[in-house]
């Protein structure tokens, strides 16, 4: 015991200051205290458990290709270790290796027995391959990225494109979380790393942190160029454009967006059957148009928006059941309506907004739980209201603004902490108030303005209490 213990302390000394390595040594020590006959199969089980985020008998049985009895025995013993925790996942109790031990054990396994690590990861990826739920997709891609990096990068890119349009934000955050873990563990390289950083950046954009992403965007661009991944290069340029636009650097944004468009045009020419490139081109045109419009170049913006609209229309007609493409058509129509409105072409603007509204209404019925689509519907009503108000059609404008108001109220009831929705609600009350004021309905107008003011106060409170 004394010799073994001295040896243990010496090994501990060698990893001083590295809590993950220390945790691994602690786990190995606990393992060494088990009877000799158990140690080999427990080590095997621990390797698999550390590869996974959580485990149960079924998972170990599949990943290790062992019998149910062996899996049961392994889990029973693993549960006796202090570094194994358990929690409820839906109705089932599952286990996990405590984070500090898990990350250390994984790192050691990946370093000292890469083949085994990749083999287990591959088994884990195969286990989740048929789980098409968002959490299943996240686990699948996480394990795939630990095996064959190239295939992992390709699948991550596909998942990113699929999810861009349809998935709920919390699923994007979940994906970014596991990718962050891989990035922090330095387990990603080349294209896989580029795409992981793209998703992480996307998650941060959703958080409203676009302005802070300059360094990350440049890092992605470098990785993409080094590894010859044109698609990743496009994403990096778009991100640079978004960051620049947020910071008010419109010319830099325009250059970045136009560069992304150039690459996309090349990609589309090389692969004319690839609908994805066409779609991306539509997005790039919209971004260029936004910047031009922000610079006051409305005619140039309109020309570019027309290109984007043409692409969106073609895709929407190609597959009317594709909700994401329908939404993109709605967004393209909104942009067109906005630039027409800016030029005083109100009837044409109204036509564009009404088409966008029809699409938004269909989407909102399709998935009432999708808050983003509900928001889009609110925006569509609001844009129409603005046009009607400019045309002097006050009753119709009021009706449109009240529709927008009801949607914003509903969204805020769902999540009062969402500042963007609170701002939308404030804006909706304000617009309603303005119309009522013009109509001479002073009391009602004042009531609406008071609501707007209350929300403004609440927003100030939220912003002062929110340190993110």
């Amino acid at each position: 015991m004394t010799d073994n213990f001295s040896d243990f302390l010496q090994r501990l000394e060698a990893v001083k200051g590295d809590p993950q390595a220390q945790a691994v040594l602690a786990a190995e020590f606990a393992l060494s205290a088990r009877p000799d006959v158990e140690q080999a199969f427990l080590k095997t089980a621990l390797d698999a458990a550390a590869v996974l985020h959580w485990f149960d008998i079924g998972l170990l049985e599949e990943i290790l290709e062992i019998s149910l009895e062996e899996a049961e025995a392994s889990v029973d013993i693993l549960k006796t270790f202090t570094f194994v925790e358990y929690f409820r996942r839906e109705e089932n109790e599952v286990c996990n290796i405590h984070e500090i031990t898990r990350l250390g054990w994984r790192k050691q396994l990946a370093r000292e027995d890469t083949e085994r690590f990749q083999g287990l990861s591959m088994q884990a990826a195969a286990y989740f391959a048929n789980d098409l739920t968002p959490s299943g997709r996240i686990e699948w891609i996480y394990h795939l990225l630990c095996t064959e990096s190239g295939q992992g990068a390709t699948e991550l890119e596909k998942l990113y494109r699929d999810w861009c349009l349809t998935v709920h934000h919390e699923d994007i955050y979940g994906l970014a979380l596991v990718l962050r873990e891989l990035e922090d563990s330095q387990m990603l390289e080349s294209r896989a790393r580029a795409w992981a950083l793209i998703v992480i950046a996307w998650s941060q954009e959703l958080h409203g942190e676009t302005a802070q992403l300059a360094d990350l965007a440049n890092q992605i661009l470098t990785l993409a160029k080094v590894h010859g991944d044109l698609a990743a290069e496009v994403e990096a340029l778009v991100l640079i454009g978004d960051v620049s636009q947020t910071l008010g650097k419109l010319e830099t944004a325009q250059t970045a967006f136009e560069s992304s468009l150039t690459i996309l045009q090349k990609l589309a020419e090389c692969d004319p059957g690839n609908i994805g490139w066409q779609r991306e081109q539509g997005g790039a045109y919209n971004r260029v148009g936004d910047v031009l419009q922000a610079q006051g170049k409305v005619e140039a913006a309109q020309a570019v928006f027309e290109q984007a609209l043409g692409i969106s229309q073609k895709l929407a007609e190609l597959d009317p059941s594709n909700a994401g493409w329908q939404r993109e058509l709605g967004v393209a129509l909104n942009r067109m309506g906005g630039v027409l409105q800016a030029q005083g072409k109100l009837e044409q603007a109204q036509a564009a907004f009404e088409r966008s509204l029809a699409i938004s209404q269909e989407l909102a019925v399709l998935d009432p739980s999708n808050a983003g689509w509900q928001w889009g519907l609110g925006v569509a009503h609001s844009r129409i209201g603005e046009i009607l108000q400019l045309q002097g059609k006050l009753e119709a404008a009021l009706a449109a603004f009240e529709q927008a108001l009801n949607i914003c109220r509903h969204l805020v009831e769902l999540d009062r902490g969402n500042a963007a929705w609170q701002r939308g609600l404030m804006g909706a009350y304000h617009k309603v108030g303005c119309v009522l004021e013009v109509q001479g309905k002073q009391e009602s107008a004042q009531a609406a303005f008071r609501e707007a003011f209350t929300i403004k106060r609440r927003l100030v409170e939220l912003e002062s209490s929110d340190s993110r």
Binding site: Q22, A30, I100, L177, L206, H207, R416, G417, N418, D466
Partner: protein
């Protein structure tokens, strides 16, 4: 493994005898029984390791299972008859059964209750004995069975002993040994949070991985169960609960009995939750663990911090305990900061603290070993406790063999 004080004259109401492979299930049942009967009424070996450690463990166990415990629960499984320690316990129980057959007191014959926790048979438990299968019932149902059996043996004692459900927050902390090393600042704070007069309603622990956050929250959950306080434990390491919808479903699952409108909802929503929280007439504890996983999900985290935690102001019966590597900062939240406290967890590098802790598990662990481990592990509690616990168990096994 939190330890309990020994009861007077070492007289337990219930003692569990089982093979280690079924420890998880048996522990759950034992905890459920203890929740109903009170601390220090139930014997489970891990809760009294400090008492058993030493060369006379076999005699102590024979006494507990043979005579001291009013009811011995024999947890039947194949492995039960194959282990040295369970054989000692089984011998005592078999002797008890034998004596009961010749006793005039019918209650003696009720003093051993076999329950099945695994496949296989045990020598001495005959084929025509009806053995209820704990694997096919909920933990509470098995606990009900044990309590009901105890009620046949000790009806008066049982009535006096049971803690009523729906208890209020206690006026003072109740004695409870959480089995934590050090954390002398943190555990009393948790107990004070869970009193009626507590001004604080939100307690937050922040620290790196391995710094006992989950250990503190788990101990708090156990303490709450001893107090008969409904608890919801939401661990955000489960990615599925990082959505408001699933979070609300989890709260409904754990607290449905005290949140009736939420329970009745087809799909739980945040307004119904808040209405039910404001109607609370009895205590509720909500534990949020691995909070750093939530911070990635901005909208949901904002709802928790701006809406849910704010209910601490409106609901005097509500308490929150939060643990994570990143946690909300009370200073940044005007609506609940005066009801909250945040504690940063530090390393535990004091050798004496660990020596005192491990002494309770096994007084034979060498002090020099403790010092070496604490130093080598840089005071990181999770790593130290893994190694010391292993050492202590190794020494027990060595002394038995």
């Amino acid at each position: 493994m939190p330890h309990r004080e020994l009861p007077n004259n070492n007289q337990f109401l219930v003692a569990f005898s089982f093979a280690g492979e079924q420890r998880e299930l048996v522990r759950s049942i034992a905890e459920a029984v203890e929740n109903r009967l009170g601390v220090s009424t139930v014997f489970l070996d891990e809760w009294f390791e400090y008492y058993l450690a030493g060369s006379d463990a076999d005699l102590k166990l024979q006494s507990i299972y043979g005579t001291s415990a009013r009811l011995a629960v024999l947890c039947v499984s194949k492995r039960y008859g194959e282990k040295p320690w369970t054989l000692i316990e089984h011998d005592a129980i078999r002797e008890r059964i034998h004596k009961s057959r010749v006793s005039d007191n019918e209650k003696d014959r009720l003093g051993v209750l076999p329950i099945r926790v695994g496949d296989g048979d045990v020598a001495g438990v005959s084929f025509n004995t009806i053995i209820q299968d704990a694997r096919n019932r909920s933990v509470n149902e098995t606990a009900d069975l044990i309590i009901a059996r105890l009620g046949l043996i000790e009806p008066e004692n049982l009535k006096a002993q049971q803690i009523p459900t729906g208890s209020p927050w206690p006026s003072e902390p109740v004695f409870y040994e959480p089995g934590l090393a050090d954390r002398t600042g943190q555990w009393p704070a948790i107990q004070r949070l869970m009193t009626a007069a507590s001004k604080l309603r939100i307690l937050i622990f922040e620290g790196p991985s391995g710094y006992s956050k989950s250990t503190l929250l788990t101990a708090a959950a156990r303490y709450a169960r001893v107090l008969q306080i409904p608890v919801a434990y939401v661990d955000f390491k489960d990615s599925l609960v990082i959505s408001q919808t699933n979070f609300l479903r989890r709260l409904r699952l754990d607290l449905g009995k005290v949140l009736p409108t939420l329970r009745a909802c087809k799909e739980p929503d945040s307004w119904t939750l808040i209405e039910d929280l404001r109607d609370l007439s009895s205590p509720v504890l909500i534990l949020l663990d691995t909070y750093e996983k939530l911070t990635e999900s901005k909208e949901f985290a904002e709802w928790i911090e701006n809406e849910l935690l704010s209910e601490a102001e409106q609901c005097p019966q509500l308490r929150f305990l939060i643990g994570g590597q990143k946690t909300p900062d009370p200073k940044n939240n005007t609506r609940w900061r005066e009801f909250a406290d945040k504690k940063n967890l530090d390393r535990i590098s004091d050798h004496q603290v660990w020596k005192d802790w491990i002494q309770q598990k096994n007084p034979h662990v060498d002090d020099k070993h403790v010092e070496g481990i604490v130093l080598g592990m840089d005071g990181v509690p999770a790593n130290i406790s893994t190694v010391l616990t292993t050492l202590a168990e190794k020494l027990v096994r060595t002394s038995v063999s």
